[in-house]
Symmetry: C2
Subunit: 339 residues, 2 copies
């Protein structure tokens, strides 16, 4: 193992980034100067996220390669949520002396895999020591034509509310990992039971972002009216769209797509799978509202589900439960400041 | 005092950012969606820095407002070092429960002051809890015409090597603060003696970036061949320029601009002020190499000093000491990974 104290900062950066290839024409100059230089012809999209060990991730069960992949992909997702294409990231990292070069190499291998998979270039960053644990800060840049950018605040009354994929699986994957961690801590001789839970574990540990959906919109020449990615749970995200658009909505519990594996895990833990879908977060699916004619063009896609419709603000923001009872939606997403 | 746990993340962000005004036409959409949307006509410059409490700053003597100002300005400096104009920043913050709303408000007041002073817009960020201390990650975006961008790797043989302002003062300010902290820790009844040291304290606690120099280059229609900002000390920065340009250089110790206040503090602490200038860092002055004819146009400026010239790589990278002895320059800048 190689201690980071044996390597200078510039050596470390070149070791960690040597296998990254530049894939985009818009990346004029990447790592190696005071700033990267980019050539954009359309609008520039910028988003940033910070992940703190012990708050956002637990290295006792998250492999570093997966962490790198997820950290990158969750940032790409913010650009897709604007109907844009992610093009570049910067990665800043603070790590305590507990981490060796080999650990950071694994983290960067995950970031590299995500960059290759989604056609994104690593163009800069910063590496420093921390007094405790690991902190990762990623900024993503992306591109979109001005007329294509989709905001949160432009939902229209009578729009169909759609989600991609299924919801709640990432949250149930986390519950499983936490359960097995607790069992292991109480009795280290018992091996974690993770077999047969592949789907929810993959959703938690190695989520994907929906570039494919953005590409489908472009191919079909359609544009949602409002869009957001589901990082904090459906409740929190639909409230952002409705509040910022000054609209109400009706969502139908029976329509919310939940995978069988998610339901199975929820039953095992005596939890309601709809709670996981509404408040779990980290699914990185897209929530969007779209006109009825445009919805007709995409409804054949098995991976898009209509879950309700946008109404005037006076109608409120409600979930219609299986039994027909109307329940106001309140944000219970992960609020990292309150954890 | 308001505990952060009493406020939700979105409330906190709106409280911290409510007084920021958008100043640039290129900021199409700032805070409030999945990503900010920017309109650039020229090249996009991007740089990022992470600051960790206990590694990069010590809150026992750094006021939070100054910290915010310095964190922002040091990022702007990276864009000026490319001969560009800083336009936007994102600010991500992780803080432990030791910090209250009032502390973060002070930090953001410093960031806001820097943004107003330098014409930069805050366009996004992330706020989360940390398990220990404060971590600040800032990404800056700036703009420059392609033909104006100045890199580190394009110094030419016979270029004049210039620095702006004076060097070593920020480092001596830090030494003073550390001395007074140690005295205070040993004997809390003794008040810190900081009067009469205003210049070096200001250079450490509230540095400025050299937007004025970039504007002067534009007015005079001149462009340095290579440029970098002095964040890690002159030694480290001239080595970046020489190594990346595959050149050598001769710098003259007697030419290096050091303020009288810096010399006085160094004498008080029995230190060599030139060591502070060469290896201290955090001055955020610009180091650039320029053709002799272009140098003639700027040499009247009292704030620019020629300190040597670029030579072929075979000449080596040397400092000619006061006594005429040639000393090879080696990097001894702050290497945060090795602290």
């Amino acid at each position: 193992m190689t201690e980071l104290s044996e390597i200078g900062e510039f050596d470390l950066i070149s070791k960690l980034t040597k296998d990254f290839k530049i894939q985009n024409k818009s990346t004029h100059k990447g790592i190696g100067d005071d700033a990267a230089v980019l050539s954009y012809t359309d609008k520039v999209l910028v988003s940033t996220d910070m992940l703190v060990e012990g708050v956002h991730f637990d290295l006792s069960y998250v492999p570093l390669k997966h962490l790198g992949y997820k950290a990158a992909v969750s940032n790409f997702s913010d650009v897709y949520a604007m109907n844009g294409i992610a093009k570049q990231i910067t990665v800043s990292l603070a790590v305590s002396s507990r981490f060796q070069l080999e650990a950071l190499t694994e983290l960067y291998q995950g970031i590299q895999l995500a960059c290759e998979q989604y056609g994104v270039d690593l163009i800069g960053g910063d590496t420093s020591s921390s007094t405790k644990g690991m902190v990762i800060s990623i900024t993503v840049l992306g591109e979109a034509k001005q007329t294509n950018v989709v905001y949160r605040n432009t939902a229209q009354t009578n729009d169909i509310v759609c989600v991609t994929g299924d919801l709640g699986a990432a949250y149930m994957g986390l519950q499983l990992l936490e359960r097995e961690k607790n069992i292991f801590q109480a009795a280290p001789e018992i091996q974690p039971k993770l077999e047969g839970y592949d789907y929810i574990l993959e959703r938690q540990l190695k989520p994907e972002a929906r570039l494919d959906v953005i590409e489908m919109f472009a191919e079909l020449g359609i544009k949602p009216h409002a869009m957001i990615d589901i990082s904090d749970g459906l409740s929190s995200e639909i409230l952002h769209i409705c509040n910022q658009s000054n609209k109400g909505c009706k969502l139908y519990e029976e329509k919310i797509p939940v995978a069988p594996e998610t339901i199975r895990m929820a039953e095992e833990l005596n939890m309601d799978p709809v709670v996981a879908a509404m408040n779990g977060g980290e699914d990185y699916e897209l929530l969007f509202t779209i006109s009825e004619p445009d919805f007709q063009k995409i409804k054949k896609s098995a991976d898009i589900t209509a879950i309700g419709y946008i109404a005037d603000a006076s109608a409120g923001v409600d979930l219609i439960a299986m039994d027909g009872v109307k329940v106001p939606i309140v944000a219970q997403g992960w609020n990292t400041m309150q954890q």
